[in-house]
Symmetry: C2
Subunit: 406 residues, 2 copies
């Protein structure tokens, strides 16, 4: 069960966005596995993609289509990543764009393709040919939840969130859906995220807000340190509200919109971890007192990726020496171990490099018992800080990933 | 069961080295957990230690004693790492050296302490006080196997190896024992290694040979990417043979000795992986064609540490896309994905970035079935290469590390 993740709340329609889904038998799961998202003409679209060098065919094609044309539709499948598929994979991604475009009566390069699932198998294009017409028939602006289900792979639950707020007297809606639960680490998680708003936003500001927001949300979660070949996060602004255009980063409207966007993106990112593969703990790792933000992040991720820290978390075992060992091997120029302090869920474990006199094994066990754990590491040196959200390493993580293709 | 690891062979005595062991109730295991190694006066000793900044108290003390005096004895315990123990831990490490020194009638700073086991608990010095006399009584030059058993923690089997060879008409013996099976990665593994020879070797050359040898053995194995706070590898040369002194790196005797030492150290390092925590596969990752050795190593370790690659190995699942994904996220300046080729146990999977036309799922499954797997990644760029030995990620790894302290 996901950790502390309430059932997906009502996902509010965004004016100018319609969604449809169908089962194209791309995945082995008995559920819809193709989603089609249409955005009204005039929509401004921004996207960030995986930094994995072996990026999937749809990532290559989506980048190219974004350069060439305004986006009018997104076609997304789960069950097959269309990655490691060579030139045939590129052709398949182009073909599904053409199929979607023909059905919608729009140019092929106004369609962006997204795939998630098994790497190294050719995408079965026939499934799209058969199912895209049903996708199109089912389209409505109230279909966000169905689309969230269609993009799931090992996710246990659909994940999405909406926010509605006032901006200069007009009502703005932000709705986003995400998938992902393993092969999760920046940059970015094995995730697809699709977020839309009806606000009127200029391209440059939209790009900037998306990048900034991803940096403090999806780039701060990690399940296993593995970066997917297919990650993508798309932000669409349909411009259907009556608000003035947000095209100046110094405009107060921009700050309001950004803060809502950042909060939504952070929660969506955290929902990936709460539904992390085999996760039994939701863990926040706060590093403070580092020489700079980069070093704080390096240490936070080293702790978050340590299999020994993760198995201790799974066991609710206050084996805090493993946290120190991870801090001590992180790739940073220097750590003064005599300045390091550590707390686990508020229980002081280490103060300035010495075991805390108030610490007891029982206090440690109580601190490690809850499903939500906050590890605070203060390096006692500078002002650099960084927060990472992660999960533990359980039998179920191994089972899920050992059985994934079978 | 360890993978392809024959029962420990006869460990040949090394003239000038005596070993004893006893159960000091330091660990919960019903076995000896203290070993004492005495080396004859005149022995030249070289040692390398963990690069973890949170190094354990015995590491700090051993480094200091090495600077101050010639080594005449090593006192080693399993069950408690004496790490994260602050000033009290330093005092405990000094005290056990004094206890051993008093028993043997030698100066305290001629004793080096080594500990391995749980981090963050104070070392029970009383156990040494009671048991060191029994260690000393049991000392003999034929006790290598008993010492190998005494230093075990989660190791399933004792690990050691001997080599005997001719050098300039005299017979030289090299015998080494190691422990370690988790928290294993360079630099170095969670390991203790004690290797002795009766050859006559100068200090500078001994240091150089040890460092070089560790670089291509213990620094190339990884179980989980976690670096211990306690790693140490010691090489002792008692000088009891009739060979000429080895003190010139350009001397052919040095080359002969080095090659035997390197072979022994590589096999000892590999034995850690073959007995890796929960390991069901022994995996060799060969990266070639990199721009330089550093990049080759970075890629090899990224693949070796990927939880997704490791769970696929556990499942014998030819999910080779996960290998590509790990290559693609490695921290190297550039990889031309169109030049990358991949084979698994000789089966061609990817050639110049394209799926191999001869590859089939069945061929992949057959390639992944054996307990010994060789993954070859050719980056098709330069001449840099690197080999890493690793294991898979199994239920048992999680069980062992979740239950470790209980």
């Amino acid at each position: 069960m996901p950790i502390g993740l309430p059932a997906v709340p009502e996902l509010m329609p965004v004016s100018g966005i319609e969604l449809g889904s169908a089962n194209g038998n791309i995945s082995k799961a008995e559920k819809d596995d193709i989603a089609l998202i249409r955005c009204a003409p005039g929509t401004i679209t921004s996207a960030v993609f995986t930094r994995n060098r072996f990026c999937a065919a749809p990532v290559t094609v989506a980048r190219e289509h974004l350069r060439r044309a305004s986006t009018q539709a997104l076609v997304v499948n789960s069950g097959n990543a269309n990655a490691g598929t060579g030139k045939a994979g590129i052709l398949a991604a182009e073909t599904i764009c053409e199929l979607a475009a023909a059905g919608l009566g729009i140019p092929a390069d106004s369609v962006l393709p997204f795939s998630t699932g098994v790497i190294g198998e050719q995408l079965p294009v026939a499934g799209f040919e058969q199912s895209l017409p049903r996708c199109i028939e089912s389209m409505s602006n109230d279909n966000w939840l169905a689309a969230a289900r269609a993009i799931m792979t090992t996710d246990l639950v659909p994940k999405g969130l909406s926010r509605r707020f006032e901006l200069d007297g007009a009502t703005v809606t932000l709705t986003g859906i995400v998938k992902g639960s393993g092969m999760i680490r920046p940059d970015m998680a094995t995730m697809l995220g699709f977020v839309a708003t009806d606000a009127v936003v200029g391209q440059a500001v939209l790009d900037q807000m998306l990048r900034q927001s991803v940096e403090t949300s999806f780039n701060r979660v990690t399940v296993d340190g593995d970066t997917s070949t297919n990650d993508a996060c798309v932000l669409m602004a349909t411009g259907r509200t009556e608000t003035p255009i947000i095209d100046d980063p110094d405009d107060p409207h921009c700050a309001v919109f950004s803060s809502v966007l950042n909060e939504l993106m952070s929660r969506l990112a955290q929902s990936l971890i709460r539904d992390g593969e085999g996760a039994t703990k939701f863990v926040t790792i706060d590093v403070t007192g580092a020489d700079n933000e980069r070093n704080a992040g390096e240490i936070a991720f080293t702790v978050a990726h340590s299999p020994l820290v993760k198995t201790a978390l799974y066991a609710s075992d206050p084996n805090w020496g493993r946290i120190l060992a991870a801090v001590g091997r992180a790739r940073v120029a220097q750590v003064d171990t005599n300045q390091v302090s550590l707390t686990i869920n508020g229980t002081r474990v280490l103060e300035n490099g010495e075991p805390s006199p108030t610490y007891t094994e029982q206090a440690g066990q109580e601190a490690m018992a809850p499903a939500e754990i906050r590890i605070r590491i203060n390096l006692g040196s500078g002002t650099g800080k960084f927060t990472v959200w992660t999960s533990d390493l359980s039998y179920d993580y191994v089972r899920i990933n050992a059985e994934y293709r079978s």
